[in-house]
């Protein structure tokens, strides 16, 4: 696999097109859930994402988002939306931290697919420091939204 192909793995390209959880307005937040929202902008390229999380009894019921950006940032939003729903807040936080370490590793860390699922496909991004922000954008937004939901 070429370097470029390791960045744009098929899983990432698929997620960037069939975006899981995309559309804040498509589905209302579950009644009675604690809600948190976060808007994040990548100032270097203008990519942006708005994420809404709905938490019930410490469990993430729903992650919905709107965004505009590159394949990496959109796929990352799709992946965390899919990965996060049904997770406990603490568990997802731990996964976000694992993903962050992977992104910062400059290619030195092996992604654990059992933990990260489709997000493991982003390991190639870590070799492109200029793109790490793209991958992190929605994940940081989820982190902030969770903090707001729990406040």
């Amino acid at each position: 696999m070429s370097e470029l192909d390791s960045l744009y793995q098929q899983i990432i390209l698929d997620h960037s097109k069939a975006r899981q959880g995309s559309g804040l307005a498509t589905e209302p937040a579950p009644v009675g859930a604690r809600l948190g929202e976060s808007h994040q902008i990548n100032t270097t390229c203008g990519d942006e994402v708005t994420v809404r999380v709905a938490v019930v009894d410490g469990k993430i019921e729903q992650i919905r988002w709107d965004g505009d950006g590159c394949a990496i940032s959109m796929a990352a939003a799709s992946v965390i939306s899919e990965l996060g729903e049904g997770e406990g807040v603490g568990e997802l936080r731990a996964k976000i931290e694992t993903f962050r370490e992977l992104m910062r590793s400059r290619g030195t860390v092996e992604a654990d697919e059992d933990v990260l699922g489709d997000a493991a496909a982003f390991s190639g991004v870590s070799k492109y420091p200029a793109r790490v922000k793209c991958a992190m954008l929605a994940w940081v937004a989820v982190e902030h939204a969770l903090a707001e939901a729990e406040a």
Binding site: L13, T44, C45, G69
Partner: protein, 440 residues
């Protein structure tokens, strides 16, 4: 080839473009162009962001430090005198290049600083500094500052801030869908309330060359001051600021073969001499008491503190390099490559070039949208082929919003860019949508 209305520069095409052999000679002066990235030869198509620097310019800066370095405009020893002479000779070189007087050339760190210098000097005048002579720069509620929809943030935000500080109103001249200024709107907007017209000479996104003569005429009719952002024109077109009859102009050295950290603010002499300073301190005064200070005439009243002497010296060497190449021929070459870019891109499916269509005059750049692929991904794909382009909003968010886009990919050329490089870029762009699985 179509040309812009009554711009005072001759239409592209009256000077011959460079022969390929000449471009090869230029390239020998730019060692960085010979390197490879990602295991393939570098194709540098990002000169509109920053140009590369030839060996002679690097050597000029090194020579200054090796043989002539001293504090300028303050010492009396031999070395200080020599350094001052070299520094002021650099100013005269820039003045000659721009069709201005040496006293009209103020060194800045870049065009952005030049624009902020102006905005803050106007601000100081608005507070009454500079006395009666500076009243022409003072703004108050009811006054209007006019910019255009195609401005770089550097020629927008300083005016927004000046409007906030003074209560003046900021207005803008809209563009057509083809990325040209709406002159009918300009005529309507530039009126009795207009005090300042700040406009780019050539757009860093659209490539459009604006009709400066027409705009200056509109401003003169109402007595407004005209500022020209020459960042994208000074590197690529012969420029004669006196002939253009603008009041102020700014440019950045690093876009025209000089190092970073050096730029120029041009101002008509009588204006600069009447304008209150922005930065104050050493080297810009005549007499100082504990209470107040009197200031030197321009340009030194705007050059507080130790200046970027070696960079000014290098900048002068850079414009000598351009003069030796011939600015009319640089324009012809950039124009030819710009047309090749636009024509090549227009032939590809799913590509939308912004700005004037093929055949219309533009500088050597083309920004475009690839349907279904974000600019960041386009740039990444090209980088994998060694092709360096700019992606994003190019510091022109309002313009991109107007075009219905958030980001574009931009390729830009200079005198060292080859036709083969443009063609390699076009071949790579042709593969982008397929790579990302966009078929429709």
């Amino acid at each position: 080839m179509a040309t812009t209305r009554s711009a005072p520069h001759a239409p592209a095409g009256d000077a011959p473009a460079f022969a390929d052999e000449r471009v090869a000679l230029f390239r020998a002066d730019f060692p960085i162009l010979g390197r490879s990235v990602n295991g393939v030869p570098l194709v540098y198509l990002d000169s509109a962001a920053t140009s590369q620097t030839p060996l002679g310019v690097l050597e000029a800066e090194r020579h200054f430090y090796k043989h002539e370095n001293a504090a300028v405009n303050r010492g009396s020893h031999t070395l200080a005198v020599e350094a001052t002479d070299t520094f002021e000779a650099a100013r005269a070189t820039l003045a000659g290049f721009l069709g201005a007087l040496p006293e009209e050339i103020v060194w800045t760190s870049n065009a952005t600083e030049g624009l902020n210098l102006l905005a803050y000097s106007f601000s100081n005048a608005s507070l009454g500094r500079g006395g009666q002579a500076a009243r022409r720069f003072a703004l108050q509620p009811g006054d209007e500052i006019v910019v255009t929809e195609m401005e770089h943030h550097a020629n927008l935000i300083p005016w927004q801030e000046l409007a906030f500080r003074t209560g003046a109103t900021l207005r803008f001249i809209p563009i057509t869908d083809d990325g040209e200024l709406r002159l009918d709107e300009a005529e309507r907007i530039i009126g009795d309330r207009t005090r300042v017209l700040a406009v780019t000479h050539a757009s860093n996104v659209l490539g459009t060359i604006n009709p400066v003569v027409d705009l200056v005429a509109l401003a003169r009719r109402v007595g407004a001051l005209v500022l020209l952002d020459a960042c994208q024109s000074a590197p690529h077109l012969p420029l004669d600021l006196h002939a253009l009859d603008v009041d102020f102009a700014v440019l950045s050295g690093h876009k025209m073969l000089a190092p970073t950290g050096i730029g120029v603010l041009y101002g008509r002499r009588e204006l600069l001499d009447a304008m209150p300073p922005f930065l104050t301190g050493g080297s810009m005064i005549t007499t100082v008491t504990m209470e107040q200070a009197e200031y030197l005439p321009a340009p030194h009243r705007f050059e507080a503190g130790t200046q970027r002497v070696s960079q000014a010296v290098a900048f002068a060497e850079a414009v000598r390099y351009l003069e030796a190449a011939g600015m009319d021929r640089v324009r012809a070459w950039d124009s030819q490559l710009g047309q090749r870019l636009v024509e090549g891109l227009a032939d590809l499916d799913g590509i939308r070039v912004v700005g004037p269509e093929a055949g219309r005059e533009r500088i050597g750049l083309a920004a475009f949208d690839v349907d279904g692929v974000h600019a960041h991904d386009v740039g990444q794909f090209l980088d994998d082929r060694g092709i360096a382009v700019r992606v994003g909003h190019h510091c022109a968010q309002p313009l991109h919003r107007r075009l219905g886009l958030t980001a574009t990919t931009r390729a830009s050329t200079y005198l060292y860019t080859t036709t083969d490089e443009v063609d390699a870029f076009l071949s790579a762009v042709a593969e982008v949508r397929g790579y990302f699985g966009v078929t429709s």
